[in-house]
Point group: C2
Chain length 416, copies 2
Amino acid sequence: MLQRFNLTVIVINTGTELLLGDVLNAHLSFIAREIFPLGLRVDRQLTVPDGPAIRSALAESLEKAEIIFVTGGLGPTTDDVTRENTAELLGLELLHDATVMAAIATRAASRGFRLTDRTSRQADVPEGATVLPNANGSAPGLYLAANSTRQNKSPHLFLLPGPPRELQPMFTNLVLPILREIVPRGSAVGRRTYRIAGMGESLVEEVIGERLLGIPGIELGYCARPGEVDLRIIGEQPALDQAEAIITAGLGAAVFSRDGRNLEEVVIKLLTERKQTLVVAESCTGGYLAHRVTSVPGASAVFLAGYITYSNEAKARTLNVDPRVISEHGAVSNEVARAMAEGARKEAKATFALATTGIAGPGGGTSARPLGTVFIALAAHGASTLVECFRFPSDRQTFKELATQAALEMLRRSLL
Amino acid sequence: MLQRFNLTVIVINTGTELLLGDVLNAHLSFIAREIFPLGLRVDRQLTVPDGPAIRSALAESLEKAEIIFVTGGLGPTTDDVTRENTAELLGLELLHDATVMAAIATRAASRGFRLTDRTSRQADVPEGATVLPNANGSAPGLYLAANSTRQNKSPHLFLLPGPPRELQPMFTNLVLPILREIVPRGSAVGRRTYRIAGMGESLVEEVIGERLLGIPGIELGYCARPGEVDLRIIGEQPALDQAEAIITAGLGAAVFSRDGRNLEEVVIKLLTERKQTLVVAESCTGGYLAHRVTSVPGASAVFLAGYITYSNEAKARTLNVDPRVISEHGAVSNEVARAMAEGARKEAKATFALATTGIAGPGGGTSARPLGTVFIALAAHGASTLVECFRFPSDRQTFKELATQAALEMLRRSLL
C-alpha cells in the first residue's frame, strides 16, 4: 500500500435500510470516486442505524480522522438526529437559520406541503457551520471546518443528506470546492483502469502480474466481472507509464477500454465512426443485448432494430429461419444461430447482425446441449458469418451478462 | 426502534476495492437478509482496506459484539491477512490442516494450477476453529465459537471469503445452521414487505402512514424505487396482522406483491395461470421490457417475441405501422404506440401486446414532446387498445426503469 495519502478520511453512513439489506450503499462508492482525484481515499467506513448510534460512531471517528463525511439523518423525522448529536458532541449551540427556513418554506409552498415543527428543525444550524444549500431537497448539508469547535482538536466534518439525488450534486458542486482548499496540492498519484475481455483473471495475472509488481511504487488491483477483468493501477506518472507499456505489450487488443467506457459504449463508438449499422436477433438473451446497446446515448444512429424470437414460430416468421433447419438441428444450434443472424441482417438491411440462441436455464438442458450452452453468430455485409459456441453454466442473469459480453466482444474484434 | 434483538451483530468487510468505490458492498445486504428470519439484525458495519487495518477493526468490535462476520482477506495474496491477524489477536496458534490442504490441491489440479506457498497458506486454521469448506473456491471459511479462545470473553466469529459466489452458498448452507444453534428461539418478530405500484411515497404515507404508526410495536420503513414504493413493517404477529388489514383496506390493488416478487414475476405468474401469451414492441425502452420479462424463469411459456423497432422503417416493416401515421403524428405519439401494439399482437398471434415509444434522452426533446415523454399501449385479444402518456424526465436507465414499470403495471391491472 502506498503511503501518499496523508489525510485520514472516514465515511459514516446512517440508515436502518442499509443494515436491513433493503438498499445497497451507493454513497461510499460515489464519495470515494469523487475525492480520489484530490489524492484522498477513504480509510474506513461505518454504517450505523438511524437514531442515536450516530453519536458513538462520530465520537470514535473524531479522534481518528482529518476529514469525516456523514450521510443521512438530517431529515424531518424523529429518527433524524445527526445534526443534534453532532452539535452536542462538539459542544456547539444549534441556531435557527432564517435563510435556510425561508428556503424550506418556499420549497414546501411550491409543492403544496404545510410546514410542521418537524420540518422547521431542518433549519437548525450548529454555530460556526457553513450551510450547503440543497438544490433537490429540504435539509441542507452542513460543513464544520477543522478546529472550529470548542474541542481541542476536531476534523473537517461534512454532514450530508441521505438521498443520493440530493447528496450527489451537493457533493460535486459544494463539497469538492471546499476540499480543494483543504487538501495540500502536489500529490501526483493517479489511477488508471484497463478493462479486459476474453481473458480470465488468473491468465491476466500470469501474463503481466509479475512484471507489474516489479515496478516500484505501483499499487495493483484486479476486479473480475462477468466476462471481463478490470485491472487497476495506482501510482505516480512515470510508474504508470511504465506499467502501461507492459500492459499494452502483454495484453494488446484484449484491453477494450482505458477510460472507463464499457464494452457496448466502445462498440457503438466504433460503429458510429465507421457509419455502420447493427441489428440483433436474440433468443436466450431475451432483449438484454438490445438493452445494453440502447443504453448508450446516441445508439439510435447505428442500432436499427432487435428481434427477440423466443418461439420457433417467431424465428421462422420474423427472421425467415427455415423450420426444417430448426427441426433438423434444434433451436440451440450453430445452424440456427447462423440463420438468425443472416435473416436479421437482411430484414433490417444492417451492416452487422448479432444473434444468440442457447439455454439460460434453470430448466431445459440436455446431455447434448447442457445448461448454459449458447451459440453466438455474427453476420456482416460482404463477409462470411462467424458462429462460436460457449458454455456459461450460471444463474439466469449472469448467463445473460456473459452471453451478451461474448457477443459484443465478437463484434468489437471484427471492427479492429 | 424495537429492542427485541438482543445479540449485537457486527459485519466487517475488508476490501480496498470497496473503499476506492470500484465495487458496491453486496455482502452487507446479503447477510442482513439471511439473518433477519432468526431475529438478528446488523447493528454496525465497517469497511477497512485489505491489509493490517483488519486488526484494529476486529479488536474494537470484539468488545462490542456477540456475533461478528468478517468478509474477505482469506485468499492467497500478500494483502490477505484476516486469518493471521485474527489468530494473533485472539492468542491462537495457526495449525496447518491436512484435509483443507488436500481440498486445495485437488481443486488446483483439476484446473491445471500449480500449488505455491501462497496457496498453501489458505490451509492454515486457528486452533479450535471449525472449518467451513468452500464449494466454489480455495479458501475455506472459519468459525470460532464464543469464548473458545484464550481471551476472557470473545464473540462468535465467522471469517468468510470475499467473492460473493463463494460467500453466499457457504453462508446459506453452513453458517445459518450454526446460527440456528446459537440464537435463542422464541423471538416472534417478523418482517413483511409490500410492493406498491402507481403511487408515490408521500401518497402512500398520506393514505396509511398515520394509522400504521398508531399500532403499538410496529416499526415502519418506506423505500422508494423507480416506479415503486416498498413498505416494510417489522413487529410481532398480531401487530403485523393489524397493520396488514390497514394496508389492504387503504391501498387495495396498488399492492402488487406481498412475498418479495417483482412486477415482472407477478405478471408472468398471472399470464401463466390464465394460459395467455405476451409480445412486446419497444422503441425507447430498447429491449429492457423484454429483458425484464425474460429474466423470470419460465417466461418462455408465455412470452412469444419482442420487436425492438428503433427506426421508423423497422416499425413499418416488422409491425406494419402505416408510414403515413408516423409522418402525420410523429413516431412518439398516441397513434404510433397504438399501431405498434396492435401490429405486434397480430404478428405474434399473442393475447396481449405492450408497446412503448418515447424520448429517453439525453437529446431529442421538443416543446410538444419534451424529454422523458413516453406513450405506452396495451393491445388485448377481444378488447379495445389502451394508450397512456407519461413523462419521466430522468437519466436514460431510470427512464427505462420507469417506462417498463408503467407498462407492466398497465398489463397487471388489466389481468386483475
